[in-house]
Subunit: 247 residues, 2 copies
């Protein structure tokens, strides 16, 4: 476990990402993409599986500035990619099936990641917990309720982009001093880099699947944990450092 | 102007709905629906204009519990309704055109309702202003920025449903006493009734078009203004009442 931040400041508030940090998310998208490829491949002349998938990802990415993240934007991208891939061979039935892939993904039950159900209530005893997640507002709210975790959080922020200005606004609104804040999440791009830029700390807990859009590098100095089960131990060390620095 | 609430409590915080209260919204949906009807009618055998429109509205309403409000949910409903209406006659080009209707609506510029640009800065001098709006998070955030009004608001809340529990949560989070709060909006169902249920006040400013989903009745005791330009005057009367009751 690497710990080179060493500011010595006590952590008082823990920000937790939700999708792929508290509960599984990207695996559902993976299954949906597989269904989409299965459906389109027979009519996507000249495309193999990888090319069908790449076409969907290109459409999704091109739509991001306009439509943002979440299952509804993904569903619209699937419809557009289906038209592009199958052209005149696209049947109305296939269009309907594409929409149903999206709707099923929207309705999928929340499954907590291993360890979360034990660790989050523990952390809530000693720290102020804040959930910071991006995506579709209604969908995220529903997942928060279904997760059974809401009561452990002091605040829940659904935001449209995890960038430096948005984190700055959230910390200011919640009256959180960056030096007392650590953000915990699976995405280096969304949960780590913008938070470090504000002078706060970050802990990276990778998920089994990384969405290509979220791939980003850091210089190796960010603590990386294999599981949220390691987080209380990391915080205890951090707390210890804080104490020794002040006493 | 009817004023029968008569609690005598001073108004300190004004909640303002956004779509169709601060800026035009439903007229954009109306134009999009017209485009959709124009596109589908030639291939929707046995449907006239009203029936095409009704089919779209039914689909949208059936999706509401799962997909919620906003242009992305509307776009998905248009795709589904197109399949239902045109069946085997639905061309891939028409599917693409349906998606484009939704994307254009998403990208439409914000046009303030007459009077808003004058009145909101005035109100901000004397009251704490809070924007409370439902819909798609990213889209609403973009409209708030484009409106040029954000700086006048102390808080901006994008919520997924305007019901009693959600208003209760928002007022609690913003530390607003219901008796000092008035909500101003164009929808009796969303901006008036749930707020009255919490013991706060409400002012109804109807918009030129009412979405069928938002139609609701009140008993006639809620103040109804023809324009936001009448709001400062209404508040001044209210303020006077407040003062005389306390002094």
């Amino acid at each position: 476990m690497s710990r080179t931040d060493g500011s010595g400041q006590m952590i008082e508030v823990i920000g937790l990402d939700a999708d792929d940090t508290l509960w599984h998310c990207e695996d559902g998208f993976e299954r949906a993409i597989d269904e989409f490829v299965d459906l389109l491949l027979p009519n996507a002349e000249g495309f193999d599986r990888a090319a069908v998938r790449a076409a969907l990802e290109r459409t999704e990415r091109a739509n991001l500035p306009l439509l943002g993240y979440g299952v509804k934007a993904f569903t619209i991208a699937m419809v557009e990619a289906a038209v592009m891939l199958a052209g005149e061979r696209l049947s109305p039935l296939a269009v309907e099936q594409v929409v149903q892939i999206g709707k099923r993904l929207f309705a999928e039950p929340v499954i907590l990641i291993e360890g979360v159900g034990d660790v989050v209530p523990l952390l809530a005893q000693d720290y102020r917990l804040v959930m910071i997640t991006k995506g579709d507002l209604l969908h995220q709210e529903r997942k928060i309720v279904d997760s059974g975790l809401a009561a452990h959080f002091d605040a829940i922020e659904v935001i449209s982009e995890k960038d430096v200005p948005t984190y700055r606004r959230v910390l200011r609104e919640l009256r959180i001093d960056p030096s007392s804040f650590v953000m915990v999440g699976n995405s280096v791009r969304s949960d780590v880099l913008p938070v470090l830029a504000l002078g706060a700390s970050a802990v990276h807990i990778p998920y089994e699947i990384v969405w290509s859009h979220e791939i980003a590098m850091h210089d190796g100095s960010v603590p990386e944990l294999a599981s949220i089960r390691e987080l209380p131990g990391w915080l205890a060390t951090r707390r210890g450092v804080g104490r020794s620095a002040h006493c």
